[in-house]
Amino acid sequence: MAALGSVIGNRAWLRRNHPFPHVVARDVFSGDFYAALDAQVAGILGRGLSETPDPGRFSRNIPGYDSYGIGFGAAAPGPVGLFLTAQWRDTICDLFGVKATPYVFAGAHHHAVGSASGFVHNDFNPVWFPRADEDAIRTPDAARCDYKTGTGPLPEEEKVQVVRGAVVLFFLRNHGWRPGDGGETGLYADARDPVDAPALRCPPVDNSLVAFECTPRSFHTYLSNTRLPRTSIIMWVHRTLDEAGRTFGTEKLERWKN
């Protein structure tokens, strides 16, 4: 895997505070790296979309969310593996003041044309991982403990509950997008704001990203796309339950509903 410094394109990412602190950036990766990333995800999409959960393809694996998703394992080959490196993890953690842990989730979402908008949510969720050493990168392992519930064959002492610390949505394969097409990530000031009236729309421009710390106020959702499919890579770093509690209060954790 190439060093991050050699593939990063634009080194001036924009911190914004409205409606909550977040970072946006365009031309994130160099042309060559982006092309390779695009080609790899195109290859995965080329395997077809599955209407039932299928770890090898984009599939309907998120109940209540109108998208096809796929997760990347810690040993993911090719350019997507960059999102699972310690260097990328540390970069995102440093941007948002999240104390790094080994626990990382990276995957991709694909929304077919006409996909429904999501619901306004904050990603301030507790999740479960098999326990790992500090110097490792550990991705979820549904066969051993469920990411959301922790249920599975893993003994208690071998799994850990952490909290989503920060999220990155990196946009690719959305060539030709123009305002009015939908498919943006909406950011909201309040959980009760109407889905179709976000405070800000982050467009799915190729090779751009929006990233933010997952807090009780990081309200966002996917906005329906009308003309083109929308694809993104999504990646979370995670913080300890203790740090989340000290920073925001565990009573504010958004427990999973499904």
């Binding site: 990063i8 001036a12 924009l14 911190r15 505070n17 440093d94 941007l95």
Partner: protein, 240 residues
């Protein structure tokens, strides 16, 4: 760092032209950037650039942040509030660039066209009028000689759609609003001359597709540097 001596109120600051103006001229003007739903694409009082690989590194992109003001130019009361906010922030305004606009392209026979027309004319015609007059009352009326000496002026960003007919594109509302803006520019130039304020318009064809955005920017700042008033400068390729 050299102190900026001219203050520019820029509407439509988060649009394509506004963004280009800020990128090109944040080092030339103290820009008071008016936007509504979309964020300013640049450093402001609460936005700054960060190097993801070296977050404490100083970035030159942060050296000339603009001052952002959020306002709904579709609401006359919000325009009044905006002027109050501007006055709280600056003692003078030297250049006003009315770059905010809505397209509202639609068939004139479409349902709801009258309601859409109200919105188009509000943003494209009435907001520039109201904001210019409010700024004149707040900043310019008291000292015409100082205005003339400082070369204070207003530039409205119009369009060739206000001059020519481009058939079958649904530009009836947009084109007529820009035609009204052109004529308003002439009358504002005539009346504001009495208080030492010049008023001109740039009427470009589609940019960046048919006209370079840089040419539009140059036309705007060219008016600021000039002593012209009552000019509508066309930037176009004439339709066949």
């Amino acid at each position: 760092m050299e102190e900026l001596t001219r203050t520019c109120v820029l509407t439509g600051a988060s649009g394509a032209l506004g963004t280009a103006f800020i990128r090109r001229h944040a080092g030339d003007y103290r820009i008071l950037a008016v936007h509504h739903r979309s964020a300013i694409d640049g450093a402001t009082q609460d936005q700054s650039y960060v190097d993801p690989l070296d977050p404490i590194r100083h970035l030159p992109e942060n050296e000339r942040p603009v001052r952002a003001f959020r306002a709904d130019l579709g609401d006359p009361r919000d325009i009044d509030r905006l002027v109050g906010d501007l006055a709280a922030h600056t003692d003078g305004v030297d250049l006003v660039v009315h770059a905010a606009a809505v397209r509202g392209w639609t068939s004139l026979l479409a349902e709801g066209v009258t309601e859409l027309a109200r919105a188009v004319y509000q943003i494209n015609v009435l907001a520039p009028l109201q904001l210019t007059c409010a700024l004149a009352g707040r900043f310019w009326r008291a000292d015409p000689d100082a205005n003339a000496l400082a070369g204070r002026n207003v530039v409205t960003v119009s369009s060739t759609a206000g001059l020519y007919l481009y058939p079958d594109l649904g530009q009836g509302l947009y084109g007529s609003s820009k035609a009204a803006l052109n004529h308003l520019t002439y009358h504002l130039a005539s009346e504001l001359w009495d208080i030492g304020i010049r008023v001109n318009a740039v009427a470009p064809d589609t940019f960046p597709g048919r006209v370079a955005t840089e040419d539009v920017l140059e036309a705007i700042t060219g008016f600021d540097r000039s002593d012209q008033t009552g000019v509508v400068r066309t930037l176009d390729r004439r339709p066949a």
